[in-house]
């Protein structure tokens, strides 16, 4: 790993020696990563490289077979117990997860609630905020993602791009210290990708720490502070977008980029 010696505070996310297998197949092999506060970190790689599994392990929607994941001083999935640690119950896990926002590929908005109710639900139920202030805060968040006028629509009445923006507002309503994005634009029609990426870019400018699994190379190049390239369950390269997209160090990364538009653009550039 070609990690630059950045002298900053303790990383917000520390991933150490994380391993996982699905029925004999290793999907994560000795993953080590640091993500710093305020950083936008993109996980790139071909389908099946383990990006989504790693992301889902960070808020323990996926358990791991070994290694440790730390977020903001919490050891994910574990709590102090006597002179050591103990695996947390699902109920106790909820306490850790509320600090970590997550945006899913398929939005997963609650189908029986309006956009506004989707955003206000967790602050009310989890943080016990009064209904009125939760609604007001939700309205403000919906306005931030440009959907104030859709507040009273159900998910079924919204386009994919609008649903994903509501999902981002819903995650932000919990005031998370970290946002995870699991291929947030992969299920969208091409013309709707832009509106979601704009909201994410806006969020990144606001200083939110973000880990993004994406196939949107232009987003990774323009918005990410660092990218990691995964292949067959391993992080084979961590670099700044500039380095990665112009001089990928690893052979696999070069092959991967060659198959994307970005790689094609990079190949054309020297010829001009």
């Amino acid at each position: 790993m070609s990690e630059a010696p950045i002298l900053r505070e303790e990383p917000l996310v520390k991933i150490r020696h994380v391993r996982k297998s699905f029925s004999g197949t290793e999907v994560l092999r000795d993953i080590n990563l640091d993500v710093h506060r305020g950083e936008v970190f993109c996980l790139l790689g071909a389908s099946g490289a383990g990006k989504s599994t790693l992301l889902r392990a960070i808020n323990r929607l996926e358990t791991v077979d070994g290694g440790e994941i730390w977020v903001d001083g919490m050891r994910i999935g574990y709590g102090a117990h006597r002179d050591g640690v103990r695996a947390l119950s699902e109920r106790e896990m909820a306490g850790q997860r509320r600090h970590i926002g997550m945006v899913f590929q398929r939005f997963n908005l609650f189908g029986h609630m309006t956009a506004l109710e989707n955003v206000a639900e967790a602050p009310r139920v989890v943080l016990h905020r009064p209904a009125e202030s939760a609604r007001r805060e939700a309205m403000r968040l919906l306005a931030d993602v440009g959907l104030a006028e859709k507040a009273h629509q159900h998910p079924g009445e919204l386009s994919g791009g609008q649903q994903q923006r509501v999902a981002i507002a819903r995650a932000l309503a919990m005031k998370p210290s970290l946002m995870l994005f699991d291929e947030p634009t992969s299920a969208l029609d091409p013309e709707l990708v832009g509106e979601v990426l704009n909201v994410m870019t806006e969020l990144a400018r606001g200083g939110m720490t973000m880990i993004v699994v994406t196939h949107e190379m232009s987003f990774a190049r323009d918005v990410a502070d660092r990218v990691a390239f995964m292949h067959h369950g391993e992080v084979v390269e961590t670099a700044t977008p500039d380095e990665f997209f112009t001089r990928p160090a690893h052979e696999r990364a070069r092959q991967f980029l060659a198959r994307t538009d970005m790689g094609a653009a990079a190949r054309r550039r020297p010829a001009r």
Partner: protein, 314 residues
């Protein structure tokens, strides 16, 4: 090509008179069916039943009270069955192997035994337990004690027999409803820090209702009819009321017809209730009950007649 097209085009522009499609076999079928219906009515009319006595029985106090008893037992049994069913469904999908096994055995047992057998077992409980006690086992502490015969009234035995049997079905209906909700809903709720309990009660179950309500409505209609079995354990519902009246005046068929009319009234009311309940849990509101019945039953034939008239006028 060009010539063929030239030959066709004047033909297609010509005004050709169009006649409606014909349905000769529909007329034949309709006549045969009406003849059969007429024959059934004629046979019933000629039967040795005093038809004039049927309707007065429907309004008789004994029957009205029996109809109320039937409805009370059905509603109470279904409500208890839903409550137990929710618990059993949650045990069934739990990660605790003991809870899962208990639920599987419970469903196996109470779904497997015939309702009549369950009713008789509860009603005759006094034969094996003379009193019912609630206390701390292996000590003398007793909170509640009563003779079984005083507790196990026909209503209580009926309630237990019907609701425990139905709860096994409800558990399966509710489990299917919960399983029918996308896993992503649970993951989203978890990722927001919602506890497993909030996730199931606030996110999964409300959405599962749409899947759960239609079969539950069917079960409730079945429940109304199954209460007739409680007549065997002397609960005065419609069948027992009919038998009681008939034992005095021997109008067996007249009283049973009165009971039958009451069942149809109760079942029809339940169907209407089910319709509105389903509508409440679907987001897209269609036309009302009577409007949609009107549309599906009355309008299409009328519309067709109108259409034929329009076409005939052309």
């Amino acid at each position: 090509m060009a010539t063929a097209h030239a030959q066709l085009s004047p033909l297609s522009e010509m005004r050709v008179k169009e006649y409606p499609r014909r349905y000769p076999w529909r007329w034949v079928a309709a006549i045969v069916i009406l003849a059969l219906v007429g024959w059934v009515i004629w046979t019933l009319a000629g039967a040795d039943i005093v038809w004039a006595h049927v309707l007065p029985y429907v309004g008789m106090d004994v029957f009205v009270q029996a109809a109320i008893n039937t409805l009370v037992l059905a509603v109470a049994s279904q409500a208890l069955a839903i409550a137990i069913g929710v618990v059993m469904a949650i045990l069934r999908i739990s990660h605790n192997p003991v809870a899962r096994t208990v639920s599987i055995v419970y469903i196996w047992l109470f779904r497997g035994l015939p309702v009549l057998v369950q009713l008789l077992l509860w009603y005759n409980l006094a034969l094996v337990f003379t009193s019912i006690k609630l206390g701390v086992p292996f000590t003398d502490v007793v909170f509640f004690s009563a003779p079984t015969n005083a507790v196990m009234t026909p209503f209580v035995a009926g309630l237990l027999g019907l609701s425990l049997n139905e709860s096994a079905y409800m558990a399966e209906i509710i489990r299917a409803g919960i399983n029918g909700i996308d896993k992503g809903q649970t993951e989203a709720a978890h990722s927001l820090g919602m506890s497993p309990m909030s996730t199931i009660t606030r996110i999964v179950l409300p959405q599962a209702m749409r899947i759960i309500i239609p079969p539950t409505g069917n079960d409730f209609i079945n429940m109304i009819k199954t209460t007739s079995m409680a007549s065997v354990i002397t609960y005065v519902e419609l069948v027992r009321a009919a038998n009681m009246v008939a034992s005095r005046n021997l109008e067996v068929m007249e009283t049973l017809f009165a009971a039958a009319i009451w069942y149809m009234i109760l079942v029809s009311l339940a169907s209407i209730g089910q319709y509105y309940l389903e509508r409440m849990f679907t987001q897209s509101r269609g036309p009302g009950l009577f409007a949609s019945v009107w549309r599906s039953v009355v309008r299409p034939p009328m519309a067709r007649v109108k259409m034929e008239r329009i076409q005939a006028d052309v």
